[in-house]
Amino acid sequence: MNTILIYDGSFNGLLSAIFNVFELRLTNVRIKRREYSQQNFFDAEEEIITDTEKAKRVWMGLSKKISQQGRQKIYKVFLSEIPTIENAILHFIKRTFSSEVSIENDYSDPIILEIDKVSKKVDREKHRMDAFVRFRLTNDGIYFATIEPDFNVLPLNSEHFKKRYADQKWLIYDLKRKYGIYYNLQNVAIVELEISSEVNSSTKALTYFTVDEINFQELWRIYFKNSNIPSRKNMRLHIKHIPKRYWKYLPEKRF
């Protein structure tokens, strides 16, 4: 019989679950997000209560065994939200604690290789958001952007945008996950709010955005069009660099 630990979907929740695995010396254990859990007859499910103290102990314990990048990798992989990724993370942490030397680069272990690959994918998505976020100036003076990244990368982007846009209020909102990061000229905070997708409809644009905003988008489109060299056209390369799923948030690709 398997034990299935159900956690609330937060990173602290996952680390709390992993703490329990060690404390209770559980074997044959799997970890699942509550939203993915499906009761079945044969497995024992157990609900984990998120406990920041326990989570902290696991996180601090890791710092003694692996590098800062190694820990960062675990966090990034968690943000991928791949349904079974918790079990890979559990494997990685178990091996870390049972080994004298760091195992973070032991790529002969297929799960560790997998973790490395997933963390690179998350990195790439983060970098894409640094590039593809497009702010629009709202009537109340906030630079506002909506995104729908493949992975939950917003927490990774906050430092980049904070350093760059230190003198303007901005909000980047993840439409898929219904939360955003907001900078109020002092700090970046995570904000949970409902934003209607109406905000992206062109007929409603002037309800939300300034007239200048519409003009700057138009200028950007003009710039984009005129910097292209038609006799060098290469659509395959173009689409490789900007896959179509990102187009709807890029003013230069919406005509």
Partner: protein, 427 residues
């Protein structure tokens, strides 16, 4: 802002700037200060890509396309009958700031046609950069063109505001320059480059002694050459390139396949295809000089004035120098490993790290990422098999070409038959 007027200017002055290929926004050290706008200390970011597949990182525009010169290869030349426009300094500042705030760009790349004279033009470019830095507290990336013939004082000032400076020498040979740009002089290109080089050296010296030295062009200098406009050979291009890398510590030389823009009979006519393959081979050669410790004379010389278009220049060198192979992968030094076709800089480092633990065999090399379909003919490893044994250069070339797919296969089949760029001579 008068948006209608700006829209028209932008369409003209972006169009005129697009033949400059440089779009790099990396390599600077400028950080956000006093909670101002922008930061260019990280890696470069491509915010978009045009349909030709080129990265859009900077707002790349001309201040004006009015020009007193009449260079045949240039779309902005005096005698060309096109719409002319000029931005005001404040208009460029506003565009840059508003694009940057919306996360469209990493910064500004400002070039210009030459109006009145070199210094007058350079002063205007500097005025834009100065305003951005001092009035807007802008810490994004700024690339300014050094105007040929600009005075030392102005070049000194330009470097205090810009991250990168560049002068495009455009035509690789003096005789080509005389033919296509009779009112330009090679010396005028070199003068600002020389000044900027010396200022960068001085900045580095002072930096090692003093705490606070204002940044000077932290992302260095670059230049660009047009390929295929003046009948030059690949050797002439790359020798010029090597000279500029060495004499002026350039960060980059860009190669731009000539896009026909005029019916001038000194140039390839409109409709002539852009020489993509040749451009690519030149970049490969450039990489061999900068990262693979090749000397340009090994790759191009009297016997071989042009690169082969169907294979890359490293393979081409190896096939001409089969006496230097096979290389023993478990013993050879780094310099020799870098010369093996199928081994890149990354895989060379991995080979050197991995062979400390064990003698490497074919299997190990494959998992490290060595491209064995090429490398196997040029190396020996911990195995009895050596594939290159007793084969001639022509046989090896055939074997390798059959086992790999060039991204240029279509062009190689059609384009080269229609028009042989390598031997192009202006009529």
């Amino acid at each position: 802002m008068d948006f209608d007027r700006i829209k028209e200017k932008l369409s003209i002055l972006a169009d005129a700037a697009k033949y400059d290929v440089s779009c790099s926004s990396s390599g600077s050290k400028r950080q956000n200060k006093n909670n101002g706008l922008g930061n260019s200390s990280g890696m470069g970011i491509c915010h978009s890509y045009t349909e030709d597949g080129r990265c859009v990182s900077l707002l790349k525009i001309l201040l004006t396309n009015h020009c007193i010169f009449d260079c045949a290869y240039c779309v902005t030349r005096k005698s060309n009958d096109i719409k002319r426009a000029a931005f005001k300094v404040q208009e460029v500042v506003d565009l840059t700031i508003n694009f940057y705030r919306r996360n469209y760009i990493e910064g500004l790349f400002l070039s210009s046609g030459i109006f009145k004279n070199a210094d007058y033009t350079m002063e205007r470019l500097i005025a834009v950069a100065k305003k951005l830095r001092e009035e807007e507290n802008f810490n994004g990336y700024i690339h300014l063109k050094s105007i040929p013939g600009a005075s030392d004082e102005l070049m000194r000032e330009a470097g205090l505001y810009a991250d990168r400076l560049s002068v495009n020498i455009e035509i690789p040979t003096e005789k080509g320059l005389k033919l296509l740009a009779p009112d330009k002089n090679r010396k005028d290109f070199i003068k600002p480059m020389e000044k900027v080089k010396n200022e960068i050296i001085q900045y580095k010296n002072e930096k090692s002694l003093l705490k606070k030295v204002p940044l000077y062009a932290p992302a260095g200098q670059s230049t660009q050459m047009i390929v295929g406009a003046s009948g030059e050979s690949d050797a002439e291009i790359m020798y010029t390139s090597a000279f500029f890398y060495k004499s002026f510590n350039l960060k980059r030389v860009y190669y731009s396949g000539y896009v026909p823009i005029s019916h001038d009979n000194r140039l390839p006519g409109i409709g002539t295809p852009v020489p993509f393959i040749r451009e690519n081979r030149l970049y490969q050669t450039d990489w061999l000089l900068r990262f693979y410790e090749f000397d340009v004379r090994e790759l191009l010389n009297k016997e071989h004035p042009n690169l082969e278009s169907d294979i890359d220049p490293k393979l081409s060198w190896a096939l001409r120098n089969l006496d230097q192979f096979p290389v023993d992968i478990n013993k050879a030094d780094m310099q020799m490993l870098l010369r093996v076709p199928g081994l890149g800089v990354k895989s060379v480092h991995k080979v050197i790290a991995a062979r400390k633990y064990r003698k490497l065999n074919w299997e190990n090399l494959k998992s490290i990422g060595v491209l064995l379909n090429r490398a196997k003919y040029f190396i020996t490893c911990d195995s009895r098999i050596f594939e290159g044994k007793d084969r001639t250069a022509a046989q090896l070339k055939g074997l390798i070409m059959n086992s790999s797919k060039s991204k240029f296969r279509n062009e190689l089949n059609t384009q080269l038959n229609l028009f042989d760029h390598q031997n192009f001579q202006p009529t």
